[in-house]
Amino acid sequence: MTPSPASEGRDTQVPSAKTLKKELEKGWRDHRAGTTSPAAMNLVDETGDGRLVMNFGPQHPATHGTLRSIFTLEGETISEADVEIGFLHTGFEKLGENMTYQQWVTVSDRMNYLSAINNNVGYSVAVEDLLGIDVPPRCASLRVIMSELSRIADHILCVGLQGMDLGAFSVMLWAFEKRELVYDIIEAVCGARLTTSWTRVGGIIRDVPEFFPDLVYSFLDEFPPLVEEIHMMLLNNKIFVDRVKEIGVVTEEQALSWGITGPIARASGLDIDVRRDSPYLGYDQYDFKVPVQSEGDSFSRYMQRMEEIEQSLEIIRQAMATLPGGPVVHDDFKTSLPAKDAVHNDMESLIHHFKLVMLGHGIQPKPGSSIYSATEAPCGELGYFIHSDGSDTAYRLRVRPPSLYNYAIFPRLVEGGMLSDAVAVLSSFHVIAGELDR
């Protein structure tokens, strides 16, 4: 290969450090001149009027993911805030238009990787709604149990990280230790810890192992003391309480207008919960409360998550007590995959299996039908909008991630506050970059 003319003679002129610095500074100025937004400034920079533009993330320990915030600081006060997202954009919605309905289950658990089961369940419920099928009662109960376990793991991790960000490191370690109990159960049920891919359209991959009740009951014995311990650790911690009280207040009107859901909305007094308002998977059979706070600050978001953990434990107790027997997969094998045993030993099931996994066959909803189906994920309302053209792949698969709409208000909350408060607000919002960017 002949060298290109541009590189010839380059090594004869080595620019001095001074020239390089000048060029660099000119580059910054030009870069800034072309835009009005601080988002385009990718370097720490003194503007000359005493204000400092600072990048918070995308690689920052307190962001817990690739979130980038650009703060314009006056002293330690944030005078202007902007966020940039998309660092983890993976094109899940585009994948949904090119994968069959069963295949996309494996994509769904890459969204909120801390509670992958809830994503699996939400997606399966959406496709089942589109098709109009109901799963067997045992499957519904198991999905509820696993969703609530997953919710507990998610909430306890969030509380632990909230403590860690504000200087209470042991809370995070205690939370991680007990969270491992949940992951033991998830591993026993589906073989994986994080990327579970546990549900299928019309059911779950396989029935739970025999020792599943033992695991859950021992979890129900071992876990509840942790709630008291964490309360004891954090509520007696003056630094923690002072740093989260009256910080990042979201009012009820704001929560309603900005489309905020989940623990953040309920901590602001907006009483919404998909599990109660439009029950799916038989949530109406269980007797549980939806806790609501009124202040809407970081502290009430902490209290909200702790109270929700107790309600989730209550749901698990009831669901375990009434866990029915029977099949775990919907019996219409035109839409749901037959059990693996049957596929290996039974001609008819093998044919059903092939018909479902072959491209161009599979699940084919009614042409032109569309559905918006929502479930309550740990971060808030996880919605799926599916539009079908009658083929075995969705024509349009839209995910309404809770983190996206929750995070939109974040710049407004931190503006006017101190820089250190931004950490206290962000950790209480529990934004998962995987589902934020999809």
């Binding site: 290969m1 109009g132 309603l256 489309g259 439009s278 559905i371 189906s373 309404r400």
Partner: protein, 210 residues
Amino acid sequence: MESTAANMAKKYPPHAALPTPLQKMILDTLEHQGQTQLRCMVPDHRALLENFKNEQGYQFLVDVTAIDHLGTDTPERFEIVYVLRRLGDQPHQFRLHAWLSENEPSLESVYDLWDSARWGERETHDMFGIVFEGNPDLRRFLMPEDYPAFPLLKDYPLTGKQERRQFPRVVPRGDQMVEEEPTDYPTSIGRGMHTPEYNEEVRRDSKPRQ
């Protein structure tokens, strides 16, 4: 067990409560698994949404998104989807679909009615190139700032070098390496950031400094 969708949509038809001039704007009503779907044309969506929010109490805009019906037999190419919800003692949820022309893919924003539309519309703009007039913040959202295409359009290619074809390539020709002319990005929608001037700018910036 009743399905989620059926539970969601208790029978409070939102279009029945509309005044007559607005009712004429509704093209058709579709029921699927207990969910209501109303359809209208684009300039009408604003009046309808204002009525739904201010008169009928749909205070919660759940989601904004779009569907690209490229090459199918639909009135227009784009369909903008609004999911609306009413809370309180008469909870209800339905969707409003608005047809949007391919030739002029812009419509009025509703960010002043619901703040959640700010980011919902911004993402729809980023993915489809649809312009929401009045939305104060329509920068790129999930894609990089200098990204020239809109990936959720149906004619976005799934294989090949895709947007890299914007940039000049050095290819062997005879015994020399020559710079190949960049080919235009093969997408049918040519507005938003994907203008010839913008592409030229991207090309210029991507060339190695002399």
